[in-house]
Amino acid sequence: MNKQARPVSIVMIEDDEGHGRLIEKNIRRAGVHNEIVPFVNGGDALRYLLGDDNSGEVSAGRQLLILLDLNLPDITGIDILEKLKNNVHTRRSPVVVLTTTDDAREIQRCYDLGANVYITKPVNYEDFANAIRQLGLFFAVMQVPETT
């Protein structure tokens, strides 16, 4: 990840804490040491990203990379994606959808809404770990814009 003055924060929205922990571990193994901010539900994540007033001003000037699971207990990941991509402050932040669903319509929908990457969680753990490590490597070379 770019080693510029403002460090990139990875916002991880994943309701399964185990998954979250495994994702974190494997990203770290890829040599990514950025701050990871985990959320286990959509509501808290949206409050963090858009602020209590939903304006998104809290994110102004942040460098964010969002890891988003679609299956959340309170709000669907699709809704979160839509809100983030429609907000002037967060719309440029890359969103990586990382979910179990491989439904073609769902994938299409996410890209239509502006998702940057869609990754289906591999079924078995080895593949899963491998995929996350590669994602970490990808993060390491990726440019993340500063939000305005």
Partner: protein, 502 residues
């Protein structure tokens, strides 16, 4: 009152018989009455003839007496003798005629027999007076007249004539009355018969109309039922489709939800192994120190043997579970896949499927025989290829080791726009108790000597059902198995009803 076809036939036949009987009765009575009328007419004719003869005889007798009186009164005027003689001759003639007419009638014959001596006597008396008068014995002649013998005879004859005429007239009256009666009877019988025929015809017409009405009603009901039935079938199909969809959605959700914790278990097992590896290397470095320390020794055993064993069990179990969940996922995904109906040549499809397995079939020394009597059908190619491939795969996999593999693929049409596809092998067969079970998920039959998860046939059945078909099997253990697919000729029609009813 509903009329059954049997009772309708009975009623109709009965009506026809009754009508026929009435007609026959009318004809018979008519014939009889005509005969009677002839008899009565004959009787009347005879009686009239008799009467005329009697009256004629009486008149001629009167004429004879009148001639005699005229002769005597005119003192022998010969002009009166001629009518007398003429009458006298005719009296005999008429008497003979009457005797001839009445010879078959005892009462009349009896009277005629009585009449003969009287008329003879009367004629004799007349002749005698005339003879006496002619001989000049006028006094004797008149005296003879005055004896009243002639008058007495004449009175007797008149009385007999009256009796006979009365009898004849009575006969004529009786015959006429009988004839009138029989004409009346004929009229009544005809009217009665006509009424019966009218009733029967009316009844028959009513029966025909009411039966036809009921038939029409029944036909309407049947067609209504048919429509309802079709509607119900559509509803049921839609229900089934929905249920199937629901199960697949359920399976999809369940598998996803099950998989999430499983990934955790597998992931953290991996983490555990990684951590264990570092502990193990540490323990190995300090292995000598542990030799004398009991606690260290136990820790060494735990880290080097027990924990790795436990971890490996966790791993193998989760891997197995992962396999099972993936199988369910595969099934549900197959069910969710949108079907693409297209024209498929069954023969080509079979040949391709056989060619894909040619290597294994050759290894088993086997042969595939394809007999396709249906050129094309409209279905989902991918699903059909998988189904046939899977069935062939099973035929090869579960062949009998002691005989050369023979696979027979057949396809033919059947009623209701359906197509039957059969894949028959001479393999080890499936025990009767497992005929249904083999289609269940994770269930297998027979010796578990070949690798497999018990997914294939469950998957096949799921796909066949998605194609609007059904799969059944016939099998004899140690003889072979025939898998039979019953597929719609046109998948589009099935999909149309499903979406149409949903």
């Amino acid at each position: 009152m509903p009329i059954s076809s049997l009772s309708f036939v009975r009623v109709t036949i009965l009506s026809i018989l009754i009508g026929l009987a009435a007609l026959l009765a009318i004809v018979a009575v008519n014939l009889w009455l005509v005969r009677q009328a002839a008899v009565y007419s004959a009787t009347v004719a005879i009686a009239t003839g008799e009467r005329a003869a009697i009256v004629e005889l009486r008149n001629t007798l009167d004429d004879a007496e009148t001639g005699q009186r005229g002769y005597l009164l005119t003192d022998g005027n010969q002009a009166y003798l001629a009518p007398y003689n003429e009458a006298r001759r005719r009296v005999r003639e008429n008497r003979d005629r009457l005797a001839a007419l009445t010879k078959n009638d005892p009462a009349m014959a009896n009277d005629v027999a009585k009449l003969i001596p009287i008329t003879d006597a009367k004629l004799a008396e007349l002749q005698k007076t005339i003879d006496l008068f002619s001989a000049g014995q006028r006094e004797a002649s008149l005296k003879l007249v005055n004896t009243d013998l002639g008058k007495r005879l004449m009175d007797e004859a008149r009385e007999l004539f009256a009796t006979m005429v009365g009898r004849s007239e009575a006969r004529i009256d009786a015959a006429t009355q009988s004839q009138k009666d029989s004409i009346d009877a004929l009229q009544w019988v005809t009217i009665g018969g006509a009424l019966v025929i009218l009733l029967v015809v009316g009844g028959s017409v009513w029966a025909v109309f009411s039966y036809t009405g009921q038939l029409e009603q029944a036909r309407k009901e049947v067609s209504t039922l048919n429509v309802n039935l079709e509607q119900r079938v559509r509803e049921r199909t839609a229900d089934l489709g929905r249920a199937n969809e629901e199960i697949q959605r359920f399976a999809y959700i369940v598998t996803h939800d099950l998989r999430a914790p499983l990934v955790n278990i597998m992931g953290f097992t991996s983490e555990l192994e990684t951590s264990l590896a570092s502990i193990q290397s540490y323990i190995k470095q300090h292995i000598d120190e542990a030799a004398h320390d009991e606690v260290a020794k136990q820790a060494q055993i735990a880290v080097l043997e027990e924990v790795p064993e436990a971890v490996s069990f966790i791993r193998s179990s989760t891997r197995k579970m992962d396999g099972l969940i993936n199988a369910i996922l595969k099934l549900s995904r197959e069910g969710r896949r949108a079907l693409r109906p297209e024209w498929i040549s069954l023969d080509t499809l079979f040949k391709t499927a056989a060619a894909n397995l040619q290597h294994q079939i050759d290894d088993a020394g086997g042969a595939v025989n394809i007999d396709t009597r249906v050129s094309t059908l409209v279905s989902d190619r991918m699903a059909l290829e998988q189904i046939v491939g899977n069935l062939l795969d099973n035929a090869v996999k579960y062949r009998a080791p002691d005989r050369a593999l023979r696979i027979q693929i057949r396809a033919h049409e059947t009623r209701g726009q359906r197509i039957i596809v059969e894949v028959e092998d001479n393999g080890r067969g499936i025990a009767a108790r497992d005929h249904e079970r083999v289609f269940d998920l994770f269930r297998r039959s027979g010796a578990q000597d070949t690798p497999g998860e018990g997914i294939g046939l469950a998957h096949v059945r799921s796909m066949v059902r998605n194609l609007g078909g059904e799969i059944t099997l016939r099998s004899q253990i140690e003889q072979g198995t025939t898998m039979q697919l019953n597929l719609p000729r046109d998948l589009r029609a099935i999909l149309a009803t499903q979406t149409g009813a949903a």
